[in-house]
């Protein structure tokens, strides 16, 4: 299998490359670095845009050379220049050609350092890719021999979330990482004017946490029956009045990757990131992998056959 990572001529960011290298090293996969350049509008006999096209390809080649230099030597790398009408489309085309398991992109340069920020390309990808999409936080750097050590699945307790956990577990098992389930309870404190104290919401959240832990145990029982089960870390619940605080409530380490599922309201075969997942992505301090629903469900079907 292959990872596809984008390299843009005017975009010097190395975060996506670092993430791709870490993921590829962990999973034993190779990396295809793709640089997407605008396709010629129409075949022109006069070749009026020949110089422009060759300029673009040169720029792309330079970007690819830079990317290759930035990638560590222990990961097999190939490069490709892709002509497409948009960067996101080009990346998806390359991913189709190589039957990639993952498309890796960086954060928008308008984002905050250390957090994932969706840019025009990544936003498009997380709303329409049929393959999982990995997003590097802005300024992400992996060690030269960095590997994924822990996969955290964002878990909301629904059927779709169960599928996602299985998918994340298979990935974690394959790369030798620990699997951890994380749920996020975002509840504002109750208004003082309600007369039940500002912690009036705590019992409700605790009840929710108890239920979530119950569900999580059931899913983890399924995970243990996988052919290649990952090590399991204790499930955690991040709790806070805002998404940011809830996500910070959970500890994050180097080598962590967060996996979120796409919304149950989007088209079945595509990633369509939901409103909650968007908030998780935006506040995540670690790389995020967004998995389309049918990929997660497909993984589960395989389990049923093998297990």
């Amino acid at each position: 299998m292959t990872l596809v990572v984008g390299a843009a001529p005017e975009h010097g960011g190395k975060a996506a490359l670092h993430l791709a290298a870490e993921l590829a090293r962990s999973a034993g996969e190779d990396v295809v670095v793709a640089s997407v350049v605008p396709a010629p509008w129409y075949p022109s006999l006069a070749r009026v845009d020949a110089e422009y096209q060759s300029y673009l390809v040169e720029a792309a080649d330079r970007a690819l050379a830079g990317a290759r230099a930035a990638l560590p030597s222990d990961v097999p790398v190939t490069t490709v220049v892709q002509h497409a009408s948009s960067a996101a489309e080009g990346l998806l085309e390359v991913a189709d050609v190589h039957d990639a398991s993952l498309v890796v992109v960086g954060s928008s340069s308008a984002g905050v350092f250390g957090h994932v920020a969706l840019g025009s390309v990544s936003d498009r990808l997380v709303h329409s890719s049929a393959r999982p999409v990995a997003l590097a936080p802005r300024g992400f750097r992996a060690r030269a021999d960095g590997r994924v050590r822990r996969v955290t699945a964002a878990y909301g307790g629904s059927e779709a979330a169960d599928d996602l956990v299985i998918a994340a577990a298979r990935v974690a098992g394959r790369v030798g990482a620990t699997l951890r389930l994380a749920s996020f309870a975002v509840r504002p404190p109750s208004p003082i004017t309600a007369g039940i104290g500002s912690r009036g919401e705590e019992p409700v959240v605790q009840e929710w946490i108890a239920a979530i832990h119950g569900h999580a145990e059931d899913v983890l029982a399924d995970v243990r029956r996988l052919p290649e089960p990952p090590l399991l870390a204790a499930s955690v619940v991040g709790w806070g009045p805002s998404w940011q605080q809830a996500i910070e409530d959970v500890t994050w380490d180097e080598g962590d990757v967060l996996v979120v599922g796409s919304s149950s309201s989007g088209a079945i075969a595509r990633v369509f990131i939901g409103s909650n997942a968007t908030k998780i992505v935006r506040h995540s301090p670690v790389p995020v992998v967004v998995v389309p629903r049918d990929v997660a469900a497909g993984d589960v079907d395989e389990v049923d056959v093998t297990g």
């Binding site: 909301g156 307790g157 629904s158 309870a185 975002v186 509840r187 504002p188 109750s190 208004p191 003082i192 004017t193 309600a194 007369g195 039940i196 104290g197 500002s198 912690r199 009036g200 919401e201 705590e202 019992p203 409700v204 959240v205 605790q206 009840e207 929710w208 108890a210 239920a211 979530i212 832990h213 119950g214 569900h215 059931d218 709790w239 409530d249």
Partner: protein, 482 residues
Amino acid sequence: MSTFGQRVLRRKSVIQMDDETGADTGRSELARTIGVFQLTLFGVGATIGTGIFFVLSQAVPVAGPAVIWSFVIAGAVAGLTAVCYAELASAVPVSGSSYSYAYATLGELPAMGVAACLLLEYGVSAAAVAVGWSQYLNELTDNLFGFRLPEQLSNAPEQGGIVNLPAVVLVALCTLLLIRGASESAKVNTVMVLIKICVLIFFVVVGAKGWNTDHFANFAPYGISGITSGAGIIFFSYIGLDAVSTAGEEVKDPHRTMPMAIIGALVIVTGLYIVVTMVAIGAQSASSFKDQEAGLSAILEHIIGASWPGTIVAAGAVISIFSVTLVVIYGQTRILFAMSRDGMIPEVFHRVNPRTMTPVTNTIIVATIIALLAGLIPINFLAEMTSIGTLVAFLVVSIGVIILRRREPDLPRGFKVPGYPVTPILSVLGCLWIIKDLRAVTIWVFLIWTSVVLVWYFVYGMKHSHLGRHEQVGLPHENVPR
């Protein structure tokens, strides 16, 4: 085997309650960030708007212009009880309503009694407030679009209607928000407080033009008992003041802040109420108040002879009463949630929807009952039921302060009632004084309601009480349904 007496008076130990909310959450300490000014503002915000927009049309016919004294009496009693409430809240280090405090200090049966009162203070008051909202909404749409819902659809059956539809719709809207997990933020609260205060000041400024001293001539036509009956009705407009007491954990220097904020809020609220009432009485004779809908709006329209001032007041009322209804229904669902976790009422009340993280079934049941009350019962009865429920709950809290001082004198208390034992005793006497002059029917219905709840306790609660079964309170985790 424990005796009957031991069973009905079993108490949740304070340590146990602390474990339930503090354990494995990392949230046992809240930052103390609230100062006097902010807490006063909270008090004003929680109190204004629950009643002043519509109690005058019930209270003035009972007390005459002397209703001004009713406000003073009701305010003084509310202040005394709020201070007692604050001590109890600070002695029991859990977040909760007076139900939780009563469970920790007085025992299971009294806690159930308090819960019966709280159902009136919250559930019935939500219905009353919703009916008041419906009056102002009608006034607003009439002024703006010349459209008024037919009488049949905006009045309770006793007043010649079929159902009070706007009130039902309001409850439904609030329910939808609560199920989706909405919550009123501090910012929204501040805006609502400002709207309410601005509307009342606007009323005073415009209404003062219609001042006529003759309206005060027959000042107290029904004597002292008229004044205390009036106090019973308008006590409704002071509910919410006790909410200040529940903020204890977050208040800086509670010994000083609590009483100052309670008294500050009380002075501001009572002052505003009295000025509003004086202007209202100055503007029209005491006899015109009876059965007046959307009172404050109607008075301004009389004075100015144009609809725009009434429209402004109605718009302010419609916006701010919405938030009051939302918060009160919210409070009610969370009280029932706590009771359900204790095993006092069936488990469905503490099922949490995993997606919205809110107790959906609980909210729907509560809303259905409130909507029925709001749609079918006239406002004066709802207001009086709320008042008696609140008064009795306060009464129990005040007694609780005395009991806890004697039983556990060394318990650390974040806040102590100044002037003990005079304050709690005065508070008890004040509540009793107001209660005695309520209408007989109100007292009867209240007694019947309380006995229904107590029968429920003996039939269900006593057996299912988690405390009684020596269980950790709360849903056993392994029984979580999928």
